[in-house]
């Protein structure tokens, strides 16, 4: 053998195994060598625990299975998979309970392997140790699915416990291992491929030590036709190479090996189980089907592995086959082996073949490493083990003619040179691995110098420590240390068993003294049995027992101490499992989903007579110079006190102190008004400036009205707020609001309504009432209205009293049977079969805000409906020149702000549309008018307009500057006005104004935005031209695109966010319907905000009101139940509280402790335990704070928790300001 080859040898220096009935090598070897088969029924206890979950899963599938019987496949199962010693792995009980049992099993097995290798604790910390795990999530239930079905809120906590990579990463984290840490997924070959990766990582120097592991648990081996994937044995028994083989039975368990470069392992005194000589990995390539195995590829794999190992294949005496025990797979595997051997030798039947799957079932991803361990043990123990469950060979395999034979009983393995074995693993997807192993011929061990030795044991819990002591006593009694250098045993425990918190030490001269010392030892003590007790040893032991590092004096000789076989860690398992609630049926309500319309109407409906005021009314009114409002108010006031301030004429200068009944529109003057309200305790402030007749005829008049009326209301409201006024703010207008289609109105003045609605949302001490009158309203009716305590938007027309009402509009869906209209399904395609009638062949359509997301969506919808349209897109920022498009597109949306819109425009062109993008600011009337004139001159007629331009409002009125207010109002309000004016002479077929939910149910901060949108609604309502369909759409947030998404406010609020297809369908249906206004949005009755609908001064139609009432009650019920559930859960928690010498704890401390115990699962907590040290993070903090708040009925949020952090501090602050914190919101 060449020196070059020797340098690539890898030593297997540690092994961990955890199989049914086998938690150490000796037990595993007993199963192998005796040919035992572990197949048995699924453990009854596990079956019982799962049954309700299985029934739940069956009951909640689309086609429920009602059969209450739950049957499980037989297989090779672990007795339990819930037990785990979380303390060893730095987890808290709750975390552990939500962690995938695969991860827990892999961790404990890999840890034991590292112990076996003599590398844990200080010796491992910071080392360049790699962790390689073979794992894949398999079809069927995962533990995360299971946990989240029980409580979706656990998903966050369960995250790191269920992400596959954490199986490797957590071990690296806990032990501070700095080498590569990863999970390999190649299905059934995964852990053997991981061995290959680890070997390569060691050889290229990525790490100096590697642990490779795999774990397999069958979560719920339920018998159900759909859970079989065809490779599992029907009776759970694996009969590899046998004629009756019908697949592998389920197997559970884990295996792990620790690898090191051979030369270093020898130098370090490691105990070497076997040597990996070489390995190979390949793929079947293109086979008939992706899951079909291929003997050619398998033969190539073996040849490659042998080349890598540099061994003569004839010297291989045992092959651990993949051995899936399928009628197809076994002959293919045999054939691959036969062909490969045939390349080197014609000798028959010199190599034994077996498969541990026949003993322990198929462990899927972990089967490779478990097979490797078996192959290592055959050379280590120099024994050829039998193949279990083998009776008659598969007739497709002619063993007699080939190199292989099947051993049916264990026999000693005679060989001339070092014994060699191989192990194969094949992945379902075609990734194959093979590893070649060789017996390690250990040199003779030089004896150690006699003398006292320090023997240490440690454990994470006292229970583990006492069990370890018993285990070592038994180990000694069974001769476990016979033939072992005593110094080596002591060295081994010191480097691999000394890192835990609970410790004991014995100083002894030899095994007998150690036994005696262990028998009388106790935690935290040094039992000194040494005949010549060594002061240095005592010092080292004492400092270590006190929690320090273990730093024993060097041995008396220069001999390298060795790692020897010793018992592994005794885990102190507790049940870490989330139990499925047995009463799930009672909690499960699969109520039919109630459907609600996606469109609503906002309209004026007759209202009953107003109620009389309950308190005296004192009115202060602001009127215009013309006197109409003054007259009306004076007549209406009757016996109520009324003071009227008149707007100073433009010509007149600011009112002097001598002119107290005049005001102007500047802030100082309106501040004086506010002061007047305070000084004289007016109860009503009447803004009665909107008294013009008919719509503005030109932009100048529009501007004048907006400034005089809307902006004055803005300034007045601001002044009233700044002065802390509490009053009713009445906006009295004359025919600003169309109460029926085509009513001639001074529509500009309607904008004040939107603003008025926002005032009261931002500042509840100003209730707002809008009263829109005509000349025929009797003075008494107006008087009654003004002093009525009921707020909202009212229109008085003669004797009639009307109120703004929000109602359902279900019939829109039925207006056009030819199209799906407002179907609410997500997959709904807006394009119908026939192009909509409102789009003319070859028509020219204008979209403002045309390069915004909504504008482009509309343009696309039009272009898809008809391929011959001209689309004019008005845009504030325009498009880059055409020649730059390729560069912009190449840059992509992340690097060029225009890329998305350029692509969208290109798509419009591709759809056949002619597209013109015009750069025009819709908020600039002059520019917009010029553009319109030019477009009309060019195209002759614009056939339809969609006014989608707009900017959002974003500041409360108190902090809003007039210029910013205007900037939001103008693109919508002035823009709409100019579009309307510009097309007076040649009306388009339709004008669609994009209004907003804010016009009806505005949020604080939307004063300007709501005002402008209310105008759009009124403009549509006032349209009297029956040839031009003017339509206002009050959009709720679009879910997928647009302003709400950009500003992060999308999603479901009082209303459900609109999908783009649904929104376009609504627009389409509304355009076909002929309605002038449609509120486009579905009330989110299932949401937590639905109660807000009732908090607006908008009347709800009976059908809406009834649903809101039901929904609010349901939401309250949910909240109450949730709070009760939390309280019940926390009440049921028992936790031992420590930290105060007298043991006296306040009720608040006890409750807080229970809340934390509930969150983390600890059985005991100290008053001073820190939230973060317990395993908390800022994400958990929210739920823990919520729990504390619910249980103690106090206001306590994340910020409080993050500041306080310990039970003592939390309780102190709650107790000291407890009353203060009482939940004022409830």
């Amino acid at each position: 053998m060449s020196a070059a080859h020797a340098s690539t040898d890898i030593a297997v220096i540690g092994i961990g195994i955890d199989l049914p009935g086998a938690r150490d090598l000796a037990a595993y070897w007993r199963i192998i060598s005796s040919g035992s088969s572990l197949t048995r029924p699924f453990p009854a206890d596990r079956g019982r625990r799962l049954a309700e979950y299985v029934r739940f899963a069956r009951a909640t599938t689309v086609e429920p299975v009602t059969d209450p019987e739950v049957d499980y496949y037989d297989g090779c199962y672990l007795d339990e998979v819930d037990g785990f010693d979380y303390a060893v792995f730095g987890m808290n009980p709750k975390q552990a309970a939500t962690t995938d049992p695969h991860q827990r099993l892999a961790l404990r097995t890999m840890y034991r392997a590292l112990e076996d290798a003599g590398h844990t604790g200080e010796r491992a910390r910071g080392s360049r140790t790699g962790v390689f795990v073979g794992f894949a999530t398999n079809p069927g239930s995962t533990y995360l699915d299971y946990v989240c079905r029980i409580d979706p809120a656990l998903a966050q906590l369960a995250l790191t416990g269920n992400i596959p990579t954490m199986m490797a990463n957590r071990l690296s984290h806990v032990l501070d291992l700095r080498g590569p840490s990863l999970v390999v997924d190649t299905a059934c070959s995964a852990s053997l491929v991981a061995v290959h990766q680890a070997k390569n990582a060691l050889l290229v120097g990525d790490c100096d030590l590697a642990v490779v592991g795999g774990a397999r648990i069958v979560f719920a081996p339920v018998k159900h036709p759909h859970t079989r994937i065809g490779i599992e044995a029907a009776d759970g028994i694996t009969r590899t190479f046998d004629e009756s083989a019908d697949g592998a039975g389920f197997g559970e368990g884990a295996g792990a090996v620790v690898l090191k470069r051979l030369a270093e392992a020898e130098a370090d005194g490691d105990r070497i189980h076997a040597v990996i000589k070489g390995s190979a990995v390949n793929h079947d390539g293109r086979t008939e089907g992706i899951t079909n195995p291929d003997s050619d590829s398998q033969a190539e794999l073996l040849l490659a592995a042998w080349r890598d190992a540099g061994v003569d294949p004839r010297s291989i005496g045992y092959i651990e086959a993949h051995g899936t025990a399928t009628s197809v797979g076994d002959p293919v595997e045999y054939e691959g082996l036969r062909r490969a051997f045939a390349r080197h030798t014609a000798d028959p039947q010199f190599c034994a073949v077996g498969a541990v799957k026949a003993n322990i079932g198929h462990l899927f991803e972990s089967s490779g490493v478990v097979g490797l361990i078996k192959a290592a043990l055959t050379v280590k123990y120099r024994t050829i083990p039998p193949l279990a469950n083998f009776k008659v060979a598969n007739p497709k395999i002619d063993f007699a003619a080939g190199p292989l034979y099947v051993p049916t009983s264990a026999r000693p393995w005679a060989a001339a040179g070092p014994r060699r074995s191989g192990v194969s693993a094949f992945g379902l997807g075609g990734t194959n691995a093979h590893v070649v192993l060789e017996e390690y011929l250990a040199p003779a061990v030089p004896p150690a110098a006699p003398g006292p030795q320090l023997f240490t044991l440690s454990a994470a819990t006292p229970a583990s420590l006492s069990r370890l002591v018993l285990r070592y006593l038994a180990f000694i009694d069974q001769g476990g240390l016979a033939g072992v250098e005593f110094a080596d045993a002591c060295h081994t425990v010191r480097v691999s068993r000394a890192g835990h918190r609970h410790r004991l030490a014995v100083i002894a001269d030899g095994v007998a003294q150690l036994r005696a010392g262990l028998a009388e030892s106790a935690e935290g003590t040094l039992t000194d049995r040494g005949a010549r007790a060594d002061a240095e040893l005592v010092t080292a032991a004492t400092s270590w027992l006190a929690g320090g590092p273990l730093d024993p004096p060097p041995g008396a000789d220069s001999r390298t101490p060795r790692i020897v076989d010793l018992p592994g860690y005794e885990y102190d398992d507790t049940s870490c499992w989330v139990d499925f609630p047995p009463d799930w049926r009672a909690k499960l309500s699969v109520a039919p989903v109630e459907r609600h319309p996606v469109t609503h109407a906002v309209e004026f409906r007759p209202a009953p007579e107003p109620a009389a005021p309950t308190t005296p009314v004192r009115m202060l009114a602001l009127v215009g110079p013309d006197g109409a409002a003054h007259t009306a108010l004076t007549a209406a006031a009757g016996a109520h006190e009324l003071r009227v301030l008149r707007l100073a004429d433009q010509a007149a200068q600011a009112p002097s102190a001598a002119d107290p009944d005049r005001f102007t529109l500047d802030a100082e003057s309106l501040d004086r008004v506010a002061q007047l309200v305070l000084d004289h305790e007016y109860t009503h402030v009447v803004h009665a400036l909107c008294f013009e007749r008919g719509p503005a005829e030109d932009v100048a008049e529009l501007d004048r009205r907006v400034r005089a009326n809307l902006y004055s209301l803005f300034q007045l409201a601001k002044s009233l707020m700044t002065h802390g006024v509490k009053a009713t703010l009445v906006v009295l207008s004359r025919q600003a609001l169309p109460t029926e289609q085509g009513e001639a109105c001074a529509v500009e003045n309607s904008a004040a309504v939107g603003l008025a609605k926002v005032v009261t949302r931002e500042y509840p001490y100003l209730g707002t009432m809008v009263v829109d009158i005509d000349d025929a309203v009797p003075a008494t009716a107006l008087g009654g209205q003004l002093v009525s305590p009921q707020l909202g938007v009212f229109a008085l027309r003669g004797d009639r009293r009307l109120r703004e009402v929000f109602a359902e509009l279900p019939e829109l869906a039925r207006t056009d049977a030819g199209r799906t209209g407002v179907e609410r399904t997500d997959a709904d395609e807006p394009t119908g079969t026939a192009p909509p009638g409102y789009l003319k062949p070859g028509g020219v359509y204008l979209v403002t805000g045309g390069t915004g997301a909504l504008g482009l969506a509309v343009a696309r919808f039009f272009a898809e409906s008809r391929t011959d349209l001209t689309l004019v897109l008005l845009s504030r920022s325009g498009l880059p020149p055409r020649e730059e498009w390729p560069i912009v597109l190449a840059a992509g949306p992340d690097r060029h702000p225009m890329a998305a819109r350029v692509r969208a425009v290109e798509e419009l062109l591709a759809l056949g549309a002619t597209v013109e993008v015009r750069r025009t600011d819709t908020g600039d009337p002059t520019a917009l008018a010029a553009t319109m004139a030019e477009l009309l001159a060019r195209y002759g007629r614009i056939d339809g307009i969609v006014h989608a331009a707009g900017l959002p409002g974003e500041s409360s009125l108190l902090f809003r500057e007039p210029a910013d207010f205007e900037a939001v109002v103008r693109p919508k309000l002035h823009g709409a006005f100019v579009l309307d004016q510009a097309t007076r002479g040649n009306r388009p077929d339709f004008i669609v104004h994009f209004s907003s939910v804010a016009a009806v149910f505005p949020a604080p901060g939307q004063g300007d935005y709501a005002a402008a949108n209310y105008y759009l609604d009124a403009l549509a309502g006032a349209n009297a031209d029956e040839h031009c369909h003017v339509l206002a759409l009050d959009w709720v947030a679009w879910k997928e695109i647009g302003m709400a998404v950009d500003y992060g406010t999308s999603g479901d609020t009082m209303f459900k966010g609109l999908r783009t297809t649904t929104a376009l369908s609504i627009m389409d249906a509304a355009l076909r319907s002929g309605r002038s206004r449609v509120f486009a949005g579905e009330t989110n009755y299932g949401g937590e905000l639905v109660h807000l609908l009732g908090s607006y001064d908008v009347a709800l139609a009976p059908e809406v009101e009834a649903k809101v009432r039901t929904a609010v009650a349901a939401a309250e019920g949910r909240l109450r139940q949730a709070a009760e559930r939390i309280k019940r859960t926390v009440d049921a928690v028992t936790v031992e509280l420590t930290g105060r010498p007298d043991g006296a704890y306040s009720p608040v401390e006890r409750t807080v402790a229970r809340c934390l115990a509930q969150a983390f699962g600890y059985p005991a907590l100290d008053l001073e335990d820190d939230f973060f040290d317990l395993g908390g993070d800022s994400i958990m903090a929210a739920s823990v704070a919520g729990t504390i708040s619910a249980c103690l009925d106090v206001r306590f949020d994340v910020a409080d928790l993050l500041a306080d952090r310990t039970i003592a501090e939390i309780a102190y602050h709650i107790e000291s300001s407890g009353d203060l914190l009482a939940d004022a919101g409830a």
């Binding site: 707020m721 509490k726 500042y763 001490y765 108190l958 902090f959 102190y1212 203060l1220 004022a1224 919101g1225």
Partner: protein
Amino acid sequence: MHCLLFPGQGVQRRGMGAGLFEEFGELTAAANAVLGYSVEELCLRDEQRRLRDTRYAQPAVFFVNALLGRKLLAERPGAYDRLAGHSLGEYNALVLAGCLDLLDALVLVRRRAELMAQVTGGGMAAVVGVPGVLVERALRETQLSKVYIANRNADLQTTIAGDSAELLVATKAMATLPGARVVRVNVSGPFHTPLMEPVEAALAELLRGCAFTAGQLPVHSSVTGELFDPADAVDLLSRQVSTPVEWIRTVRGLRAAGVSRFDEVNGRTLLPLTEGIR
């Protein structure tokens, strides 16, 4: 212009000032002598949890503020053109400005804390998310006689304080305001309200015994928002305990004076407030 800000009571945390006490060994020893206990032990370990107590919290915050300010100025001489402090922090501003001796101020602060701690049965709460005018209106609406505005901290943060029982009622009312969040403030009394008036005379007496000099750096008063004239020190600092902290006004005053950048010692409490002031 740059301004350095000093926070007041409320920023105390176990572990504050770590490393400083060794660096300023002599000063720390002198402070220990003045206080009669180890300020280092109080700030770093505080096993008896005395930082919860106003009597200890104020000297601790003041002393750590002072060391931090001194260190900062030593590292960057001339970096600051103005100084200001929030409530207790105002003493730090005056000390660093050179108007008041550090150890004299420590004596003063200790006495101030003792006096303030004598007024019990009250508390404070911050109302966040709504304009101050709305808080004031809502407070008037409650018709409570013993709850007051205590700090005007930022456009959307106002602190109210007063009698414990009445404060409970007031916070409930505040929580119903649109967008409002009510956050507890961990202090023992109704600071910066007329309920503190009993302290004023004694404090004025102490202040009169102190020498206030002109100083090298201008300080803005948290009572008036205007420049602090050392000649008015007795009046301004004694009034300070029973009148609202006018932080909005202070920041606006500083900005009007040309301050464009603010720094803060001992955490980040005032900077977010300052950013929240138009």
